[in-house]
Symmetry: C2
Subunit: 408 residues, 2 copies
């Protein structure tokens, strides 16, 4: 939570945090400017003080919506600084921060955050470190102050995630209804124009349904059928037709329009009838999914549940990452991840070395076991989002049935 930021900065010896870059795709920036609708900005937060928002003159009004103290950077006249630097943009960028840091009294260990051009930032931040004698430029490699703070959500964040979740469930139901509105010809769903319904058609329908609800796909929804469903990150092939008897993995993770909170859920469907092989596997998958949901406990190491799932699957004859890190058939990924302003954040339900996340109040995370056999032409995954209440109650935010078979 935001109130943890000062404590974390102190623990890590950080005097000042500077968050830079575009707002879009930059969760920490969005977090610190309270979702103000800027295109890009800089936030400077001295430890123990309120953050200051610097932005261009054209976005001054949007900046005010942050509730932060706003500085219109036009007063620093970057064009003059650039001219004085003989058009050398790197030199000018150092000079620009020198002026701002002097004005705001920034010195000591200054850590940079945000997102941006990798090479340009490397050059610029090293030049800044060298150019400003009273500043030590720092970064944090993983689980930085803001990633850590963002992992535990406040009630206003839960309400937003809950609402995205409600709308996401509506979209999944809409897709089921959309399938049912089509006519079956042999084993293929057909459109009114006599051509087969494709994954591309379904994806367009999903995007329209999202747009109507002011949601957006940050990256392509996973909507994969048959063999592709057996490859967890396959987005699905737009020209594939929607057929009965095959598993469809529908993993949808929309974000609030214009940057904001995500939701993340997966259902697996088979239209018409499922084979006994698929039904048996789905029964196993449902069993372990429910077992994990029932076992989740505040204070437990998140990776423990990955171990539980691996043990279950190995006991049922499926390979898992526990015994084969390169596993491609069986259970092939980790169990879950936090969801918030990033689609993947802390906590990690993973047993990778060094992963020591413990389930805490405010955590919002997915539980998503899957079974994958691409060479057999199928794959399946069930994914819900769980919220840990203050008292340790686990609330499943994904209020949607898990029926595999869709009768047409």
């Amino acid at each position: 939570m935001k109130r943890d930021v000062d404590r974390l900065m102190e623990e890590r010896g950080i005097d000042v945090a500077v968050i830079e870059g575009e707002v879009k795709g930059n969760a920490t920036m969005f977090y610190m400017i309270n979702g103000a609708k800027l295109s890009h900005a800089t936030v400077i937060k001295k430890r123990g003080e309120e953050p200051v928002l610097l932005c261009g003159t054209m976005e001054r009004e949007e900046a005010e919506e942050s509730g932060l103290r706003v500085i219109d950077t036009s007063k620093y006249d970057f064009m003059k600084i650039l001219k004085d630097a003989g058009g050398d943009r790197l030199k000018a960028s150092v000079e620009y921060y020198r002026i701002i840091f002097d004005e705001l009294g920034v010195s000591g260990n200054v850590a940079f955050y945000g997102k941006g051009d990798t090479g340009a930032n490397l050059v610029r931040l090293n030049a800044l470190d060298e150019g400003l004698s009273n500043v030590t430029v720092m970064g944090e490699y993983s689980d930085n102050v803001f990633i850590t703070a963002r992992a535990t959500k406040e009630p206003y964040e839960i309400e937003r995630i809950r609402e995205v979740g409600r709308l996401t469930c509506e979209v999944v139901q809409h897709v089921i209804d959309f399938w049912k509105s089509h006519r079956l010809e042999g084993d293929t769903l057909m459109k009114a124009d006599g051509t087969p319904l494709t994954i591309g058609d379904c994806k367009t329908e999903i995007r329209i349904a999202l747009a109507k609800r002011t949601l957006v796909e940050e990256v392509d929804t996973i909507f994969a059928i048959g063999r592709d469903a057996g490859i967890p990150h396959s987005r699905g092939n737009d020209t594939d037709t929607i057929m009965t008897g095959k598993t469809i993995v529908f993993d949808i993770f929309p974000q609030e329009q214009g940057a904001g909170y995500f939701f993340d859920m997966t259902r697996t469907f088979v239209l018409g009838e499922a084979s006994s092989e698929i039904l048996d596997a789905y029964a196993q998958l449902s069993e372990i999914h429910e077992s994990v949901l029932a076992a989740l406990k505040m204070g437990e190491r998140a990776g423990k549940y990955q171990g539980m799932v691996c043990d279950f699957f190995e006991g049922h004859g499926h390979e898992t990452p526990k015994t084969n890190p390169q596993v491609r058939n069986g259970y092939v990924h980790s169990l879950g991840h936090g969801v918030g302003l990033n689609i993947h954040e802390n906590p990690r339900l993973s047993n990778a070395p060094g992963m020591a996340d413990v389930l805490e109040p405010g955590h919002v995370f997915t539980v998503e076991p899957g079974i994958y056999y691409p060479d057999k032409g199928w794959g399946m995954r069930i994914e819900d989002v769980v919220y840990v209440h203050e008292d340790g109650t686990m609330e499943n935010l994904t209020k949607f049935p898990k029926d595999l078979v869709v009768k047409l």
Copy 2:
């Protein structure tokens, strides 16, 4: 163009280019992997050799679509590296690249590109520079090799931009038709349910129209009315109602779904009737826009046209950045920018110090003068995209009328 990359690397003393990060929002990555639908990847390009694409095992099939040599990184077993590093992710990341660089024969000046977490990349790349004795880690601050190469488009890129442009024009026309389908009550457009049509309604309609065409808003479309139209980057207020007599600045810059090419166009509309003040200003704006389009010439400095526009507007009594860098009333920005895999790229039609771009064959850029008087309650901008053919012919890719007034 891609064929320029080796020459540019040589000129800048770069032996190897490493492009990292998510594909989404990472134009150089998209460019180098030929639009393959990966979520994230690493590309290693030794000067004079074909690039190699490294990706996770779950995205191996998408990676093949790049046409590049693909290495499935599961073979490096990062989890074992991480374990050997005692769970220290930074140490493991250095070791990981050591193994890959050894295998691929990477040494010398290795420049990093792409997009990512600012602080984490700073720490990691400095550690890499220190940890690998045969590698000097570099970055480029501005106009890097790939930004420079990407500024001149190849025919296949033009066709994609042209198609996004055609679809974008369809969406603008759709919005005009959408307005006309509403009933006027006094000076306000009304919905069938008896409530006023709002900017939020129009934006939802735009997003649906884009989704139907497999396009997406990367950031919010600018759709601002009245006073907000006078602030160039104002996205517009969702609850504002659509009224007659006010300028509506409609600046739409969609991208191909899932990352890809952008288009960028602006039209200004007044529903019903426009005041003589607005009509007069629009006549000036149209005149200078047409004059610039007619004057554009291959080989000329792009910034020259910004000067031409400033001189014209100052001659008509409007302030401009030429005499007041902090101008907020009058003409308040630069004239244009390249458009491609980023919404803003080279060339820059700007007179900022150090800006020396010259119009070249393959350039695709906007021409977008505007006049802004927020305190008078209006603003206006016209924006077309121009493509410079091999023989210097300037083609306007924005095939859409520029009528200000929309009769209801």
